[in-house]
């Protein structure tokens, strides 16, 4: 028989305004096992905790129920309180009467009734609780960074700086990501490559960092401190160790039809190529779709000219498996597909381009060597119209409901740079709102308008159509309340950004949650913004939400700090709420092992004495160091032999029963 104390928190007025806390404490006073009940204004405060400690000692409590906020908020707090008073921390149950009750109800009567039920449910569980003790598991002192853009690079550099080993897994042939494609960066207008490539080189030269380019994460097992990750190293048909990056193969390759992804497919590249001049690793890769040798077996020119003997047409995908203590997800973004936006005629008109395409056209290493020429005829455009919010803040279902955050600033940058370099060019910008919070951001935007004379038009564009070789942009000017028609030579769409689609697979592999827009969810929007709800998984960059370079870099460094904080520990406390099989009931059918995401279940042949007979049986055995207590096995087990400590079927059923009594 338990001796249970019930502690109902007012949470100031957060709970007490909607729930009659005294009535709750009173109602459960005589419930099974309850020997003490009390309320307090702030149970989490020093005084509140003291009240709990005193009651545990005075009333020899064996278990406590705290009716308060979500266990995510203060379960750890109250467990520590209990422990300080000599009570096992797993004898504490939280009844969430704030998020699950007072915050979502208006009617005091109804909310009070519900709070009583929730508290009784927790009491029912504590009645069946048993003390549990945590074990320890070692920490693998190596981190994995998924994605080699600026977020991944920064996180890796910071982690390596602290002395830990880091692997960067990048799916493309080079690290650098989107930032490598950008020409100039706002608000300082310094060259993107000039500030990024030294960091890329640092990564390559850092002994602690291993860059696994052209690779993808295939499988993730394990848990915080102890992940085991299978990485696919895609066949690049070039020996990474031998290739010197001389580019002779690129010159000789007769297949020149591949579209240059780095230049947003604005020009062609050979079948064997190095994505860009400063690529890291500076190693060629063969596009198997374009390579004549791989497709027909004839050619082999690159192999002949390669002085280093690096070309290997027989290379196959390879898989490596490595252990990590922590994982940083930094998978980045891509501009959305614009096929659904017929009104802007992106698919029909070569001279309707996206901002990232313009970025490449403006870049000295781009398809036009940095000269602003329009794609259709290579002429200098004289009138350029920018359209903002293409697919951003779009609730029509066609685009994205969120603000992509970076477009206002880069559009101002583009407009300004064009006016600076080509003062005879007329630049118009259609916008819904201009949003420029950030250090020196609004000043930057105002410079574009005031100093560079960019024509900002508040209003949306209804249609872009081609008339006699001119792009007619029809929109509305809301301030002058009139329709405008602008005859343009080039139209630039500020396309919304979305998480790189591969993030879905990564999220599933990591059991990290993802929101409706495919952004990874942080553990707490304000207080744990770089941690994923999955322990040991951290988020950096746009995979978590739209952000610009400075924000991405800060978040990456914050991730690194969290990772370092984890990796300096030698051991982590394990969760004692693990599964175990009742040997006499186990069929040995292996269904639990097939659903276990952690590979924690194996089988043993064991002699059992049942009903006076000895039988050799195949029985499930759970490794408690590997089990994470997810409970998948307990619901799969047909005979109910598998059960979870701290969340036994009996405990859960007793809670359900308590709720169903009403």
């Amino acid at each position: 028989m338990q001796r249970i104390g019930v502690f109902i928190c007012w949470c100031g007025s957060n709970i007490a305004a909607t729930v009659d806390v005294e009535r709750v404490a009173d109602a459960v006073k005589k419930d099974q096992g309850v020997v003490y009940s009390a309320t307090y204004q702030y149970m989490c405060s020093e005084n509140g905790q003291q009240l709990i400690k005193n009651a545990i000692k005075e009333h020899s409590l064996t278990g406590i129920v705290v009716g308060s906020c979500s266990p995510r908020m203060h379960e750890a707090t109250f467990r520590k309180t209990a422990e300080a008073a000599g009570l096992n921390s797993y004898m504490v149950e939280i009844a969430n009467i704030r998020e699950h009750c007072s915050w979502i109800h208006k009617d005091r009567e109804e909310a009070t009734e519900k709070a009583i039920i929730l508290v009784r449910t927790a009491i029912a569980k504590v009645n069946l609780n048993a003390p549990l003790s945590a074990g320890e598991s070692p920490v693998i002192k190596r981190a994995l960074v998924i994605g080699g853009g600026i977020a991944g690079i920064q996180a890796a550099l910071d982690i390596a700086e602290a002395g830990f080993e880091v692997d960067i897994v990048e799916k493309n042939a080079t690290i650098g990501g989107r930032m490598a494609q950008i020409d100039k960066t706002f608000p300082t207008l310094d060259c993107s490559a000039c500030i990024l490539t030294p960091k890329m080189v640092d990564c390559a030269q850092n002994e602690k960092i291993d860059i696994l380019s052209y690779s993808e994460v295939e499988e993730v097992k394990g848990f915080v401190g102890n992940f085991s990750v299978k990485i696919k190293r895609k066949a690049r048909f070039v020996d990474e160790k031998k290739c010197t990056g001389c580019k002779l193969c690129m010159e000789k390759c007769p297949s020149k039809k591949g579209l240059d992804e780095f230049n947003m497919k604005l020009n062609k590249r050979p079948a064997i190529y190095i994505p860009f001049a400063q690529a890291i690793p500076n190693v060629a890769v063969i596009d198997p779709e374009q390579c004549i040798k791989l497709k027909t077996g004839k050619c082999g020119l690159c192999q002949k000219v390669c002085g280093a003997g690096a070309i290997d047409y027989t290379q196959k995908d390879e898989y490596i498996e490595r252990g990590y203590g922590a994982i940083v997800v930094a998978t980045g973004f891509k501009p959305i597909e614009l096929n659904a936006f017929n009104e802007f005629g992106y698919s029909e008109n070569q001279d309707v381009i996206t901002s990232l395409e313009l970025e490449r056209i403006m870049n000295a290493a781009g398809p036009t060597n940095g000269v602003l020429l329009r794609p259709s005829d290579g002429e200098h455009p004289k009138v350029i119209t920018f359209i903002q919010c293409v697919g951003s803040r779009d609730t029509s279902g066609c685009g994205k409901p969120y603000c992509s955050k970076i477009c206002c600033m880069y559009t101002a940058k583009h407009a300004m740079l064009i006016r600076e370099k080509y003062p005879d060019t007329e630049v118009h910008v259609f916008y819904i709102d201009v949003r420029t919070p950030g250090k020196n951001y609004d000043e930057f935007f105002r410079r574009a308008v005031e100093q560079y004379g960019v024509d900002y038009i508040k209003g949306m564009v209804g249609k872009v159509y081609n008339e006699n070789g001119k792009l007619m942009v029809q929109g509305s000017n809301l301030i002058d309340n009139e329709q405008v028609l602008i005859e343009s030579d080039l139209v630039v769409l500020a396309a919304a950004i979305e998480p790189e689609p591969s993030v879905r697979k990564i999220a599933t592999l990591l059991t990290a949650s993802i929101d409706t827009n495919n952004f990874l969810t942080e553990s707490h929007a304000k207080l744990r913004p770089v941690e994923s709800p999955t322990a040991g998984v951290y988020l950096a960059g746009v995979c978590q939400g739209p952000k610009d370079i400075p924000e991405t870099v800060s978040q990456a460094s914050a991730c690194a700090a969290k990772v370092i904080g984890l990796l300096v520990k030698d051991k982590l406390k394990t969760n004692p709420c693990v599964a175990s099989a009742n040997e006499t009931m186990c069929n040995g059918c292996s269904q639990c092992a097939s659903v276990c995401p952690y590979g924690a279940i194996t089988y043993v042949e064991k002699e059992l004495r049942v009903d006076g007979k000895t039988e050799l049986r195949r029985i499930a055995s759970v490794n408690p160091a590997v089990c994470q207590g997810c409970g998948a096995c307990t619901v799969t087990c047909p005979s109910g032999a598998m059960d979870l400590k701290g969340f036994s079927s009996k405990q859960i059923m007793s809670e359900v029963e308590e709720i169903c009594k009403r």
């Binding site: 069929n587 659903v595 109910g640 079927s649």
Partner: protein, 324 residues
């Protein structure tokens, strides 16, 4: 069928006499011509009661859980549908495959005495099957029935083939037929939720909880069934409401989902004539539609849709969207 029977008997004798196997699992004559029962034959002598005819519908695979634990090898006669259950049990490590010698035997569909009686015939003393025609002898004379109308429900939609054989006794090939085993399930799906609830409520209210369906089911092979285990909290849970007790069948359907081979034994043995196989078939159909076609027991290895995660798996929200 007589021919097949004598070949089987011949093999059983040889296997037992040579000591190659310690026992043979087959069917033994019952009190009437239409109720042969599964039996274990341990000597040539015992084989005098051996029978294999149109009433040997019982699935023998489940008996092998116990038999494969015994000393020596066990030979078993398996019809096509039985081999799926056999595979499934091997996969779940319930049968020790090495200790079993499987003799695949031809089936040609088995008869349902209930359906024969429903035709107004009683005191049946024997049947003679000639293609589609079945001559039924009774104490009161003879009648000719159409075979299609009197086969077991599980045979009416069967297109199964032998999945396991160490040797086979197949003298006639059963023609492959074009049957849709989901037709009845589809009819249930067409009903409104209320109609369907009424249908099942009426059907399940006939249940007397004799546990025959569970005891015969090869997928229900738990060492300790949750319904027999006072510790499980399930056994005595459902006595508040009559229909709640009948949830037994729905719980059972969930427990065997993804493992049920559609052997149809549950409906065959139900003394109340509840079409229990339809519950399981609905699960099979849903699994097929949600995760791609899957036949439990086709192999004794590999993963199953409900216990395996694949990247192509539908998200819960999509299932809800498409859910019927």
């Amino acid at each position: 069928m007589k021919e097949v029977e004598s070949k089987m008997l011949e093999r059983a004798k040889v296997l037992l006499e040579s000591g190659e196997v310690a026992r043979v699992i087959g069917w033994r004559k019952g009190a009437f011509c239409h109720d042969p029962e599964p039996a274990s034959f341990e000597s040539v002598d015992e084989l005098k009661d051996f029978v294999y005819d149109y009433f040997c519908g019982a699935n023998l695979s489940k008996y092998l859980i116990a038999e494969s634990k015994k000393e020596g090898k066990t030979a078993v006669f398996l019809k096509p549908c039985d081999t799926y259950s056999f595979n499934q049990l091997v996969k779940e490590h319930r049968i020790n495959r090495e200790k079993i010698h499987v003799i695949a035997v031809e089936c040609m569909a088995k008869l349902d005495i209930g359906k024969i009686k429903a035709k107004g015939l009683s005191a049946v003393t024997g049947v003679e099957v000639d293609g589609e025609q079945v001559k039924v002898q009774t104490l009161y004379g003879e009648a000719v029935l159409s075979k299609t109308e009197i086969v077991l429900a599980k045979c009416a939609t069967c297109n199964k083939t032998h999945q396991v054989k160490d040797e086979e006794i197949v003298l006639h090939e059963r023609p492959v037929r074009d049957v849709n085993r989901f037709a009845e399930v589809e009819a249930l799906e067409q009903m409104t939720a209320e109609e369907r609830f009424k249908f099942w409520r009426e059907q399940l209210s006939k249940c007397i909880r004799c546990n025959a369906c569970r005891n015969v089911c090869p997928a229900c092979s738990c060492i300790k069934c949750v319904f027999d285990n006072p510790q499980s909290g399930v056994a005595a849970k459902a006595n508040d409401d009559k229909f709640e007790e009948q949830l037994f069948h729905i719980i059972r359907a969930y427990h065997v989902a993804g493992r049920c081979t559609d052997c149809g034994e549950c409906s065959r043995v139900c003394p109340q004539g509840i079409p229990l196989h339809l519950l399981n078939r609905k699960f099979i159909k849903d699994i097929d539609e949600t995760y791609g076609e899957f036949q439990a027991g086709e192999s004794a290895e590999g993963k199953t849709p409900l216990t395996e995660y694949r990247e192509s798996d539908l998200e819960p929200k999509d299932v809800l969207k498409e859910g019927k």
